[in-house]
Symmetry: C2
Subunit: 241 residues, 2 copies
């Protein structure tokens, strides 16, 4: 499985993904699930993927091919779309096409393949937006009421987000909330694993502000994880019932 | 859906279930999912159910009928079994039979029905044991390494249990952990709802020590829920990253 989470805040956006892919428990690999397209100051797009690797890789490959095509300006790509809504529609259409193609192959073997994506970004002059794209190609958008989107193993890490994330949450606190949400998921589910990919984008900047790969032996993350465990245990001790 | 959790500790056992049942989102009802059989000092058995109500009600009804049958001593029931293992086997067999019967009716309409159960108890002179019974009738047992079992919407409430529950956890702390695990689930998932049924059993006593129904307006629970939210937010603020 996978866990990816995106937070859309007044100050900016935080996106975090794990990298574990498995085909059965005895075939575990590390694959990047976060893909960044950037024309700094003009446009920034971050995509995260969950689900069947064959579907997500082919989808990303087609979107990428369009970006780098010689006739990209004519054919159109996520880097030439006029709005983030059009970006979401293009990704949704590509995901849906790929899924249907692969599903028709899989169905001969009574297997299925599916995938979902989160796409977030901003174009200069436009609004910062974040979408969750379903396997069928349709999508929903993060809003003030629901300022975060999750794909993959989303349940373990949802309680902390429900409690602390609001649109007015600072970028730094949102980063912390995303990492703690991931930490809970890593502890409770083997199919989600380090290293992590973390990106922050400041509203209006149309560029990546921070991009980090967090390895299993990252000291800052380990300290945060330990401190959070301790803080939870302390909080637990203090609660009277 | 449902959320039920059982904790097996050196000091005793804690069992907690919600009561929400839904057939679609517009058909929500309250049904007890915890069933207690007690011969105080001699034997105590607590069952919790999740899944299709038609399967769980029929299963419980058959087990109950056997307990109250005039020839119960000859026919055997969960109250005459010599060990908790035999109790688990009898429940597993009944659940499996009912599921197969109902599934054969449902399959005509391309529908399915399934259910799982937790059963915990002790007989005088025997060990305190707790089992999770799968729809197929087979089961697994709580152990020192894994001192809790969950059925239904188990993911939201797992992180807190993973962090604080050990076999040596006190009965009071286990009670608190179960309630906080339920609180996280209630916040994040609409299909789990108040009131709650809570039971504690002390090791060796072979009787219910505490049995409580916790309503939506229960002040102690509300205070705990608020205090936990506050404690989590405080802990979140203190963590540096």
């Amino acid at each position: 499985m996978t866990y990816c989470v995106g937070l859309l805040l007044d100050e900016g956006m935080v996106l975090l993904s794990d990298t574990r892919t498995n085909a059965g428990l005895d075939n575990i690999s590390t694959y990047r699930k976060m893909f960044i397209y950037e024309d700094p100051g003009e446009r920034v797009i971050v995509m995260m993927t969950s689900g069947s690797l064959s579907v997500t890789q082919t989808t990303i490959a087609r979107l990428d091919e369009a970006v780098h095509a010689i006739d990209a300006a004519d054919r159109g790509s996520i880097m030439t779309c006029e709005t983030m809504l059009q970006v979401a529609e293009m990704i949704g259409q590509t995901l849906s096409d790929v899924r249907v193609e692969i599903a028709s192959k899989m169905s001969r073997a009574s297997e299925s393949a599916s995938a979902a994506m989160i796409v977030a970004g901003q174009r200069r002059g436009g609004a910062m937006r974040m979408f969750l794209i379903y396997p069928e190609g349709n999508f929903i958008e993060a809003t003030k009421d629901t300022p975060f989107l999750q794909i993959g193993e989303h349940k373990y890490g949802k309680p902390i987000l429900d409690r602390v994330v609001r649109p007015e949450t600072s970028l730094q606190d949102a980063r912390k909330a995303a990492l703690l949400s991931m930490d809970s998921t890593l502890r409770s589910n083997l199919s989600v694993g380090m290293p992590l990919d973390l990106v922050t984008v400041r509203a209006g900047a149309c560029r990546i502000e921070e991009q980090r790969r967090i390895d299993a032996n990252d000291e800052t993350f380990q300290e945060m994880s330990l401190a959070w465990s301790q803080a939870l245990r302390d909080a637990f001790t203090k609660i009277a019932i």
